[in-house]
Symmetry: C2
Amino acid sequence: MRLSKRGEYGLRAMIMLAEPAPKGSFPAMMQIKDISHREQISSKFLEQILLTLKNAGLLHSKMGVGGGYYLAKPANEITLGQIFRVLDGPVAPIKCVSQMAYEPCGCPDEETCGLRLAMSDVRNAIATILDNTSLADITQRQNVIRQKLLSI
Amino acid sequence: MRLSKRGEYGLRAMIMLAEPAPKGSFPAMMQIKDISHREQISSKFLEQILLTLKNAGLLHSKMGVGGGYYLAKPANEITLGQIFRVLDGPVAPIKCVSQMAYEPCGCPDEETCGLRLAMSDVRNAIATILDNTSLADITQRQNVIRQKLLSI
DNA sequence: ATAAAGTCCATTGTCTTAGTAGACTTTCAC
DNA sequence: GTGAAAGTCTACTAAGACAATGGACTTTAT
């Protein structure tokens, strides 16, 4: 049940972009090389990922000197599920329980297939978390923990 | 978030072996070719899978004429999580939240990494389902649905 | 002795993943 | 209007995982 590197890097980048900008400079814009440097990722690989995210409508970009990437929508309107699906495809562990890419799995009777029942539960559990967690939720959780650590 | 074919076939086979034997013939023993035929799987591939499951202590086998495979334990003591981990490895989507194969993921601060927080939730959700669903639970659910369909 | 079953190990073809390379386009500062 | 800084686009590749396949060997019942 693995998150790919594409998915991981993409999610990390989106979370970075969702972090409130230093001094009222909105929308928070960052360049590929900023992100790739801070996360220690190949910038060429990250480039592809951000482009994919842009083409999916989750990021906007500005070309030329002083350009960069920024979120296409407020951080509370972008969910981890959206990002995940763009980069890693369907959430479902098996196609016959996928909402976005259903395909029969070949079991004699889908309706009474025990594996399908269980995998359907798994799919729903994953989707519930990813689709109900926004980038804003993530940055907020991060901040809460940081505050707690500071106050020790 | 994909279940591999190994995992899928292995789970299907285990569920078949957990189904109550026709006429009091316990332990329910089946041969590779029975299972591979009923599930339309390559018998050579299934052979490897069942052998892996046997070496992991989830199946027992009997060699020679009239031999076959049967569950090493009662169906209510074998969980989907055990089978899954043997065939597909850790449940966690990212190594830094894995219980059975932890590795640092390289984020600057693991404790406040937002991605890690979210993926930890996902891991727990998946593990909770897989580790609390036994083969007996599956066959029972199947039977309940079959009964319902019959009574229409 | 023979046939039926599991065991074990090596190999193979295909696909996916993660990354690399390089040419091209847009924008800004000067 | 030129040059540097940024994103865009397409193609390619190396390594590994995945899904088998093949064949020789061992055990057991009859």
